[in-house]
Every structure is written in C-alpha cells, then in structure tokens.
Symmetry: C2
Amino acid sequence: MNDLGVKINTIHCCKDAINRCQALGMRVSRQRRYILELLWEAKEHLSAREIYDRLNQQGKNIGHTSVYQNLEALSTQGIIECVNHCQARLYGHISDNHSHINCLDTNQIIDIHLELPSDLIQLIEEKTGVKINHYRIDFYGYKHN
Amino acid sequence: MNDLGVKINTIHCCKDAINRCQALGMRVSRQRRYILELLWEAKEHLSAREIYDRLNQQGKNIGHTSVYQNLEALSTQGIIECVNHCQARLYGHISDNHSHINCLDTNQIIDIHLELPSDLIQLIEEKTGVKINHYRIDFYGYKHN
DNA sequence: ATTTATGCAAACATTTTGCAATAAA
DNA sequence: TTTATTGCAAAATGTTTGCATAAAT
C-alpha cells in the first residue's frame, strides 16, 4: 500500500513469496517451499517438467500433481510468473513489477524493472473497477537490424 | 514509424495481419489465412484445439501440424498473441498495443488500449539495444474486495 | 480437529516429429 | 522452379482426475 492507495506487489525474495502465501491463506507445505526455493535460485525460467526433475534429483520428493497444482495456484496469485516461450510454458520467480524484453531474433529474454506511474494505475482501476495487484509488460523486438 | 523513430505495430484488421505476413516473407497459404480470419472474427481467445476444430467444422480443412506451426510462427512475429489463461494456452488477434486486465477472482480478461509514451520506448531501446516492435501489458487484480 | 495439500496410477490432452506431397511465390 | 508450407500417423510430452493418505494450521 503506497500513499496513493495502490496495492503493490512487494515480493523481493523467496521469503517474501512464502509470506505472501501465508497472507493468502495458502499453507506452506514442504513441496510448495521446494518449488519457491528452486525458482528463486534459478536464473532462467523452468518448465513444469524441469521443476519436477530437478527437485526429485535433489532428493526433494514431489509428485507431478503437486507440481502442477502449485504452479497453477502460485502463478494465479501472482507469486510466481508464467511465460510463453517458444511453445513452452515456463515458470519463474517474480521480483517486483518486472518486465520482459523478448528478442524475436536472438530468442533471448531480458528482464527489466519498470514501474508505471501510480496515477496511471489508479486511472485504470477507476475505469475498470479492478484493484490492480501487480502487472507485467512484455516488449517484443529485434536486437539486430 | 512515428516521428520519434519508434516502429509501432499497426495491425488493425485481418488484412493488415496478412500484409504483415507478406512483408516478413511468410507465404499466405490457404490455412494461414483461415487461422487469421478466424482469430479476427472471434471475440474470445481460442486454443489450438479450438482453432483446429472450428476450421474443420466450417469445411476449412487444416491439419494439426499446420495449426501448431502457424500459431508458433504468427505469435513469434507478433502478428497474433498467445496468453496463458487457467493452464490453457490461448491465441487471439492483436489490435494495436492493447493490454489485458486479468481478474483473479472472476477469471475474466478485460481488454484495454494503452499506449506507453514514445520517449519511454525510446529509452528502453537505448538501454537494451533492442528495437521495440510491439508490447503488451498484463495487469492482475481483483474485481471484488 | 479441521482442512488444505499430496501423490499415485491411469485417463486424457496437447504438441512434436520425420518426411513425402503440395502449393505459393 | 524453387522453397515454404502442409498433413499424416505415431511418438513423445504435458496435464488432469478421483480419491485415499498425509501433513499444516
């Protein structure tokens, strides 16, 4: 909650994500924590399968069902994010209202931090009747040419 | 190309999308045209399966492979868009730099038109070395409460 | 004690593959 | 003509389901 009454997502680290879960009434199960820890350690975004594999390889047992249920719940709540990349659905941690620059030629994703003016957010809230929780901007462009 | 040298996506209708394909050296096959026409007629976003089904029901024959290959190519080029919604990957037409408001409680997607200031775009281009072609903003929030 | 969350195994759905045939330029 | 695109049929992936068990609050 900032001075304009705009509720802003303030997840900066894995611990914040866990707190957010609790604040939302989600239980912090061993498996859910595993996923959050993994995503906050990982540099890249991971697919559901990669998450399943990596955790089990580390001896952190988790089933397929739990992976999917958790990814769905966590991304719906804006605790993690889901991006489409080259026909794959990848999940990653969120740090603030960060955005992506997708290079259409190099297939690279560059993360940038970009904050929209709070009066713009407020205007959108008034126009649509939706209380904005978080947002994400995807830019698409070409590195070369 | 506007006066600031920012290349902006100017697809307003199906015809524009077809022109864009040609400009990119993509051939306008019967199947590709079917998909574009369908997406520009449809109000909602459609899954690959729905696109396949609808076209074939209309007697517009198309195979699975072509649907997938086209959706991949067209969304990569920013001619159509791909959104994650409730664990499903949905495709839809693009009208300008439009954005989405995703209601986390009602599961509704509201389309809004939102133009970022061109000097911001320019700044990002300078910072990242990526020529922005188009962008999309996703807002997440709650309608009630 | 009360729910939420897990996870198996099986069904179901989606996506990719190689490659010969086809059609757009 | 040349080359991108198609589409088949099968394989490979990815995702969901019901439901009894386990674990978090």
